[in-house]
Amino acid sequence: MSKVNDLFKSELKVINIGLTSFAESLKETGYKVVHVDWSPPAFGDDVREALDKFNEIVSTKKVDVDKANREAFNRLVSARPKLVRMGKAIDLVPGMKKNMLLHAGPPVTWDRMCGPMKGAVLGAILYEGWAETVEDAEKLAASGNIEFSPCHHHQAVGPMAGIVSPSMPVFEVVNEAYGNKSYTNMNEGLGKVLRMGAYSKEVIERLRWMEQVLYPTLARAIEYLGGIDLKNILAQALHMGDEGHNRNRAATSLLFRQLAPAIVKTTNDPDVVERVLKFIDGNDHFFLNISMATAKASLDAARNIEGSTMVVVMARNGTDFGIQVSGLGDEWFTAPAEVPPNALYFPGFTKDDANPDIGDSSITETAGWGGFAIAAAPAIVQFTGGTPQDAINKTKMMYEITIGENTTYQIPYLNFRGTPTGIDIKSVVEKGIPPFIDTGIAHKLPGIGQVGAGLVDAPMEVFKKALIAFVKKYS
């Protein structure tokens, strides 16, 4: 019995690619049909050729891409990230040096750094006491005596400018399934903050307080608790209206519930207890950095899988947008970062003030939450330009470019379907669907801070470059 005869005996289920009327006819006559909103691929001959070569690699079985991607995906979703301890960056972060500043995104030199990143660098220099004045800090930054290095080169992530200096306290997250670790600094709150490029006296003072009061208090509590299961918190937060990037209110609250009794138990000074708890409570984004470290620890376990087209890093430094791909080692594929076209601005600010997209926080989308899970976060769906349905559609679109669905992180509204997880560069290029990212927006000048929030598509260019590199490597 042939496959055609099987078809005759089955219920007909049609996928219609092209004329809408054909799908309508089938629906009208009572047949099941799914219509595809197809559009011609928007790429040139180089990419066309790369796609052909890619198919050849698959058909000649030079490398088993599907198997490699399954492996990468499984590692990503089976990660068990746990917050285990805190310490100074110089003591914990691998490769950290006394004269080093980590920054967000792909590598960038001082002369190419955007305004907010420069501002954050100046702030960090003042904070470390390497210079007394902004002018001296600027001279030092430009002198070549400070080594700039991407957070991602040190198993670390930082939101917005992502500046981590040697004395800054960091969280350590351990992926208990694979043993790898990730690091991130503490979130300072909104408005004039270092990560947005502000470096005024109050910014530095807050950082000092965080180092001297907040950090030891938290460190004691975390130690007392024996660590905190982050996978659990994030999974619950998605059920509570967070998407783990632009909205972290639920996750911050869940973390707060675990920390509060432990802080009370391990800190004698009630004033300190009060101020620390108020600080966390007053900052809905306190969990953001930890969410990012959760993503980083989960994704790093999926790096360097031979033949995998899964993206393991998406990051921006405010000048360039860069990605890294599991099967392509440590190579960065970059393109200019864009100013988010769909954004909402704080009073007094407009698009003209906005810096191009910046920060490592797109690691959350890379791991399958953030913008990819926006259908779970009705409170912020208007960033997508409208209604909850638009947000649902955005999440559904991301399923088209991802390898699978996360079994732990779910979206209640989609019948608890897992979030779209594991971006596949081939699908992105072939279907012309860029990953999209929830993002904060920093002022383009140093020293000002956050001016809004919005949505941005990852530039297609980086995925095309990566695909071309992939076929070159595996042909």
């Binding site: 042939s2 496959k3 005759f8 996928i15 054909f22 089938l26 197809w38 669907i433």
Partner: protein, 517 residues
């Protein structure tokens, strides 16, 4: 410059709604800056920086709404504040206007319908081949409606399908009915035990409709596109379809429809049919009987005969009985034509056929050439009878309006009647025209309003000409256009309406003969 504000105690909006309203507020003429925020410490400091922290805002709490506007003068600011309150009200009642997610790719569709089994492709030919190959690689049957698919891609798709035992209908396959479902341009037919493989789109519509209209039913109707029977493609789709019908328990009678296939393809068909036990009707338009008989099939010369014979065989009547019926019918047609011819005036002598359906045009051309001699056409049987200008008729003329020369940049004539309507009126103005012959192919995919789009033109014809308007309607009563109403409307406009192309063509042929044309 004026700054004014409103504090609304205990009125909570989420920050995104507020930012959206603020965005709109900034567009109000004369407004220089506006802030609509909850009264958090953070927001108050933002207001302070932009010079909009009014005295009354200073004690506001997180749950209080602050609205501040900076503008040209008091009047502007007052107006803006009212407008902002309106915007806020509207934001609360904003309805959910957007619709469900439509996937962007085959993969995306498969995530929604993982057990899909057929992919219908009608994107531009340049891309259709790739989409088909993608679908075939996922073990899905395909129908490629698109034309102009690059030859190599089309052949590759057919080869993959053939190797995998998957159906590849097309490229350039306009019609199929699989498991009763009308695919592309297709009619809603009765289900039954007659299976069809057809390399002719409107041919398939005509045969399946006549079968359904005459008490028979269709098990499966597989279209292949005309190019399939060419040597280059080797009839791969046709053979796959035929094999499946031979193996199909629901199919008792098989009908094959095609122009005469290439010799190499014919050879393959002979091999496939060697051990077949089911009766086969072979409608190879324009081929001699021997070719069809070499397949062990019953030869028929028209689509109508193919359909009627298939119905007879399905009901167990003999081939000879069917033959006799067809012959007896010929007398009826002659008499009908004689009556019609009486209405014509001396000098009216030419036949003008304007077709939507390519196979129907071809069939009429064969019938008329046989009856009244050579016919001019844009797709002539003999090259010397090719119209010098497809847009102008000469003597007896048949125009296939579905040819590329007419459809580039325009919808197919089965959908858009405008071009043909114009041509109908031109023919009507010609005093030498005796018969204007039209086909109206209904069903899914085709024009949904044939009455509104055609009848006014026929009424126009009546005013300027007494030429006979003969219309063949291809379709069934279950089609969405309401065939009965269509036929009544056409008759009211003085058209002579038939439901079989061959029959109608013969009526026209005898009319021309009668008047000595």
């Amino acid at each position: 410059m004026a700054v004014k504000g409103i504090l609304k105690k205990g009125e909570y909006y989420d920050s995104v709604t507020l930012m959206l309203v603020q965005k709109d507020a900034l567009n109000i003429p004369g407004v220089e800056d506006a802030a609509i925020v909850m009264g958090t410490l953070q927001n108050k400091s933002i207001l302070e920086n932009s010079g909009m922290l009014l005295e009354e805002f200073k004690n506001a709490t997180d749950a209080d709404l602050l609205i501040a506007v900076k503008g040209k003068d008091d009047e502007v600011v007052e107006k803006a504040l009212k407008e902002i309150e309106n915007l806020l009200r509207k934001s609360r009642s904003k309805s959910e206007g957007s619709s469900d997610y439509v996937p962007k790719s085959l993969d995306g569709a498969l995530k929604i319908m993982p057990d899909a089994n057929l992919v219908l492709i009608s994107v531009a030919g340049k891309y259709a081949g790739d989409e088909a190959i993608k679908a075939l690689s996922k073990d899905l049957h395909v129908m490629i409606f698109s034309d102009n698919v690059p030859k190599e891609k089309a052949l590759r798709a057919k080869q993959i399908g053939y190797e995998k035992g998957l159906l590849v209908m097309g490229p350039d396959c306009g019609t199929a009915i699989i498991n009763g479902a009308p695919l592309g341009f297709a009619n809603v037919v009765e289900r039954g035990d007659i299976g069809i493989v057809s390399a002719a789109g409107t041919g398939l519509q005509e045969v399946s409709s006549i079968i359904s209209n005459n008490g028979g039913g269709i098990s499966q109707a597989i279209g292949t596109g005309g190019i399939d029977m060419k040597e280059y493609y080797g009839g791969l789709s046709f053979i796959t379809g035929l094999k499946a019908l031979i193996d199909d328990d629901e199919t008792k009678v098989i009908v094959l429809i095609s122009k005469p296939p290439h010799e190499s393809v014919l050879k393959k068909l002979q091999d496939v049919l060697k051990n077949n036990k089911k009766p086969v009707v072979g409608c190879f338009l324009g081929a001699n009987k021997e070719i069809v008989e070499s397949l062990g099939a019953y030869p028929v010369s028209t689509l109508e005969e193919a359909a009627l014979l298939a119905v007879s065989l399905s009901k167990g009547t003999s081939f000879d009985k069917f033959k006799k019926e067809i012959e007896e019918r010929e007398e009826l047609i002659k008499n009908e034509a004689k009556e019609l011819a009486k209405h014509l005036k001396p000098g009216q002598k030419y036949f003008r056929g304007l077709f939507q359906g390519g196979t129907l045009a071809y069939e009429t051309e064969l019938i008329l050439t046989d009856m009244i001699g050579d016919v001019y056409s844009n797709v002539p049987l003999k090259p010397e009878f090719k119209l010098k200008d497809s847009w102008k008729s000469e003597k007896h003329t048949i125009v296939d309006l579905g040819e590329d020369e007419f459809t580039v940049g325009r919808p197919h004539p089965q959908i858009d009647f405008q071009l043909r309507n114009k041509r109908i009126l031109e023919e009507a103005k010609d005093p030498e025209v005796a018969v204007i012959y039209l086909d109206v192919v209904i069903g899914y995919g085709t024009n949904r309003h044939p009455i509104e789009d055609l009848v006014p033109t026929l009424e126009e014809v009546r005013k300027i000409s007494n030429a006979l308007v003969i219309v063949n309607v291809t379709g069934t009563d279950k089609d969405p256009q309401n065939k009965r109403a269509l036929i009544t409307a056409l008759k009211n406009a003085s058209a002579h309406v038939y439901e079989r192309n061959a029959y109608a063509s013969k009526v026209a042929g005898y009319v021309i003969k009668e008047i000595g044309g």
